[in-house]
């Protein structure tokens, strides 16, 4: 199978690949990278909420971009409605371009509303204690904002709060895994409740306005 043949059938493949396509992917780096990129975009697009419909300018931008690339040509007909005519070899660019612009638009929208995305992490196996991984514990946006606030109000306490947040986040992660592995386990639920209480306390003390 050649690259042209593979890319021609790519839009119809979905998540499954035939034997021929599999072998082509193994031998062709370019097509393999293309499939990986499309899967990444598809995965990221799923986290977008359905209510966040892109504004009309997004669709207009897609049309402008496709016209500039020469992928859209005005149809020579007497119809008042223009139709899209695409070369079959470049048909896969349409969903790719659309998805890229949707993701980009949604990111711009979310940043504008002050809702930072937190990095998704691969959870460690259930029951594994992560208390010793404090050095690499990733902080969410809210935690970083809290540390910034503490740093402004009480610079000498910033390190203490950071260490405690890491400790509490490790507690929450272990407790969540324990609770997920057995939702009926009352003790696991108790761990989770305690972990969240700890986090709430840290936030409350950091933001306590009674202390100057």
């Amino acid at each position: 199978m050649t690259c042209e043949e593979f890319q021609r059938v790519l839009p119809e493949l979905g998540s499954g690949h035939g034997i021929g396509q599999e072998e082509h992917l193994k031998s062709c780096r370019g097509c393999s990278n293309l499939v990986a990129d499309l899967n990444t975009i598809s995965r990221e697009a799923r986290v977008l909420q359905g209510s966040e419909e892109p504004s009309p300018w997004v669709w207009k931008s897609i049309e402008v971009a496709l016209r500039q690339e020469g992928l859209i040509q005005p149809q020579l007909s007497h119809s008042r409605t223009p139709t899209l005519v695409l070369d079959w070899r470049l048909r896969w660019l349409v969903p790719l371009a659309a998805t890229l612009l949707i993701v980009f638009g949604a990111l711009i929208y979310q940043r504008g509303t002050g809702q930072p995305q937190t990095a998704q992490q691969q959870p460690p196996p259930a029951g594994v204690v992560t208390a010793n991984l404090q050095a690499t514990e990733a902080m969410g946006g809210e935690d970083l904002q809290l540390l910034e606030t503490v740093g402004e109000r009480m610079p000498s306490m910033r390190d203490t709060y950071e260490a405690d947040l890491r400790s509490v986040n490790a507690y929450i992660r272990d407790a969540e895994q324990s609770a997920h592995s057995d939702p009926n386990d009352e003790v696991a639920q108790q761990y989770l409740q305690n972990a969240y209480e700890q986090k709430a306390m840290v936030y409350e003390m950091a933001l306590d306005r009674s202390l100057p």
Partner: protein, 280 residues
């Protein structure tokens, strides 16, 4: 050699006198009604609260420099005293030590970053909060004791008929002769040590994430106990009557059972710490 020693002694005396000259004392007195509410907020320095005579709140403040002042507010039943840091104040120059006498039934709220914080012989409610401050509460009864620290160690001694809730991220918690209808300790990495009777038919819950738990009880304790550690080990010095639980007790990582009449409920839970139920 003798002359050098004399010079050193003189230097120390002069320095002490100089330091003392920098501190100022301030006394405040407030008349209050029954069940008064007293609040002390002090970022740097000690707060000590004890019972005093009559319906009076007496505050003695020792200010360590001119970069801090003591402000106050008072309503009929509420007294608030707080340290106001001026520009350029730090942990040394902003330090104030408070000695407070309150009616024994007063409710007390203490906030401090560095502490230490000390409360004794009261029977009202108390809320004690310190970031790295050590907290020491002793000889109190019949009140709701609520203690929060980030890393400050907590010691609670001789509490009867109390409702005790302690939350600390990394501070060690020691409970000696603490009994009440509810005794809850929630720690993340701090150790918990309990030495008491688990009496009053109460609900005792000692939980940590990675800290160890050591509970010492007498042979006559009347408890229904559950102990579990996901990654750590559990040990007991008592033979327990088996009881039905929602989880399967596994030797070395969990046990459950009763002693005596099982009047009190005791939960010893740690995610990765060691748990030991010891016999006194």
């Amino acid at each position: 050699m003798q002359r050098a020693t004399s010079y050193v002694v003189m230097l120390i005396v002069v320095s002490a006198a100089f330091a003392a000259a920098q501190t100022t004392h301030q006394e405040l007195h407030f008349k209050v009604g029954r069940r008064a509410s007293v609040s002390i907020v002090n970022q740097y320095g000690a707060i000590s609260v004890k019972p005093g005579p009559g319906k009076v709140v007496a505050v003695t403040a020792i200010l360590y420099s001119g970069k801090v002042e003591v402000d106050q507010s008072k309503s009929r039943r509420r007294v608030a005293v707080f340290s106001h840091l001026l520009e350029g104040a730090d942990a040394q120059t902003g330090r104030v030590d408070y000695e407070v006498l309150v009616p024994a039934d007063a409710s007390v709220t203490l906030h401090s970053t560095t502490g230490p914080l000390h409360v004794e012989k009261l029977h009202g409610d108390m809320m004690v909060e310190g970031s790295t401050a050590s907290v020491d509460v002793r000889d109190v009864s019949a009140g709701h004791i609520h203690i929060k620290t980030l890393n400050g160690p907590v010691t609670v001694t001789n509490v009867s008929d109390g409702l005790v809730e302690i939350t600390s991220v990394g501070g060690d918690v020691a409970l000696n002769a603490v009994n009440g209808s509810l005794v809850h300790v929630n720690s993340s990495s701090g150790k918990i040590h309990y030495d008491g009777d688990f009496g009053d038919g109460g609900d005792y819950s000692l939980t940590t994430h990675s800290g160890d738990i050591e509970a010492i009880a007498p042979a006559y304790a009347s408890i229904e106990v559950v102990a579990r550690s996901v990654q750590g080990t559990v040990e007991k010095d008592f033979p327990l009557q088996p009881e039905h639980t929602s989880f399967v007790p596994r030797a070395g990582s969990a046990f459950a059972g009763t002693m005596g009449e099982a009047a009190s409920s005791v939960k010893l839970l740690s995610f990765s710490g060691k748990i030991h139920l010891k016999k006194r």
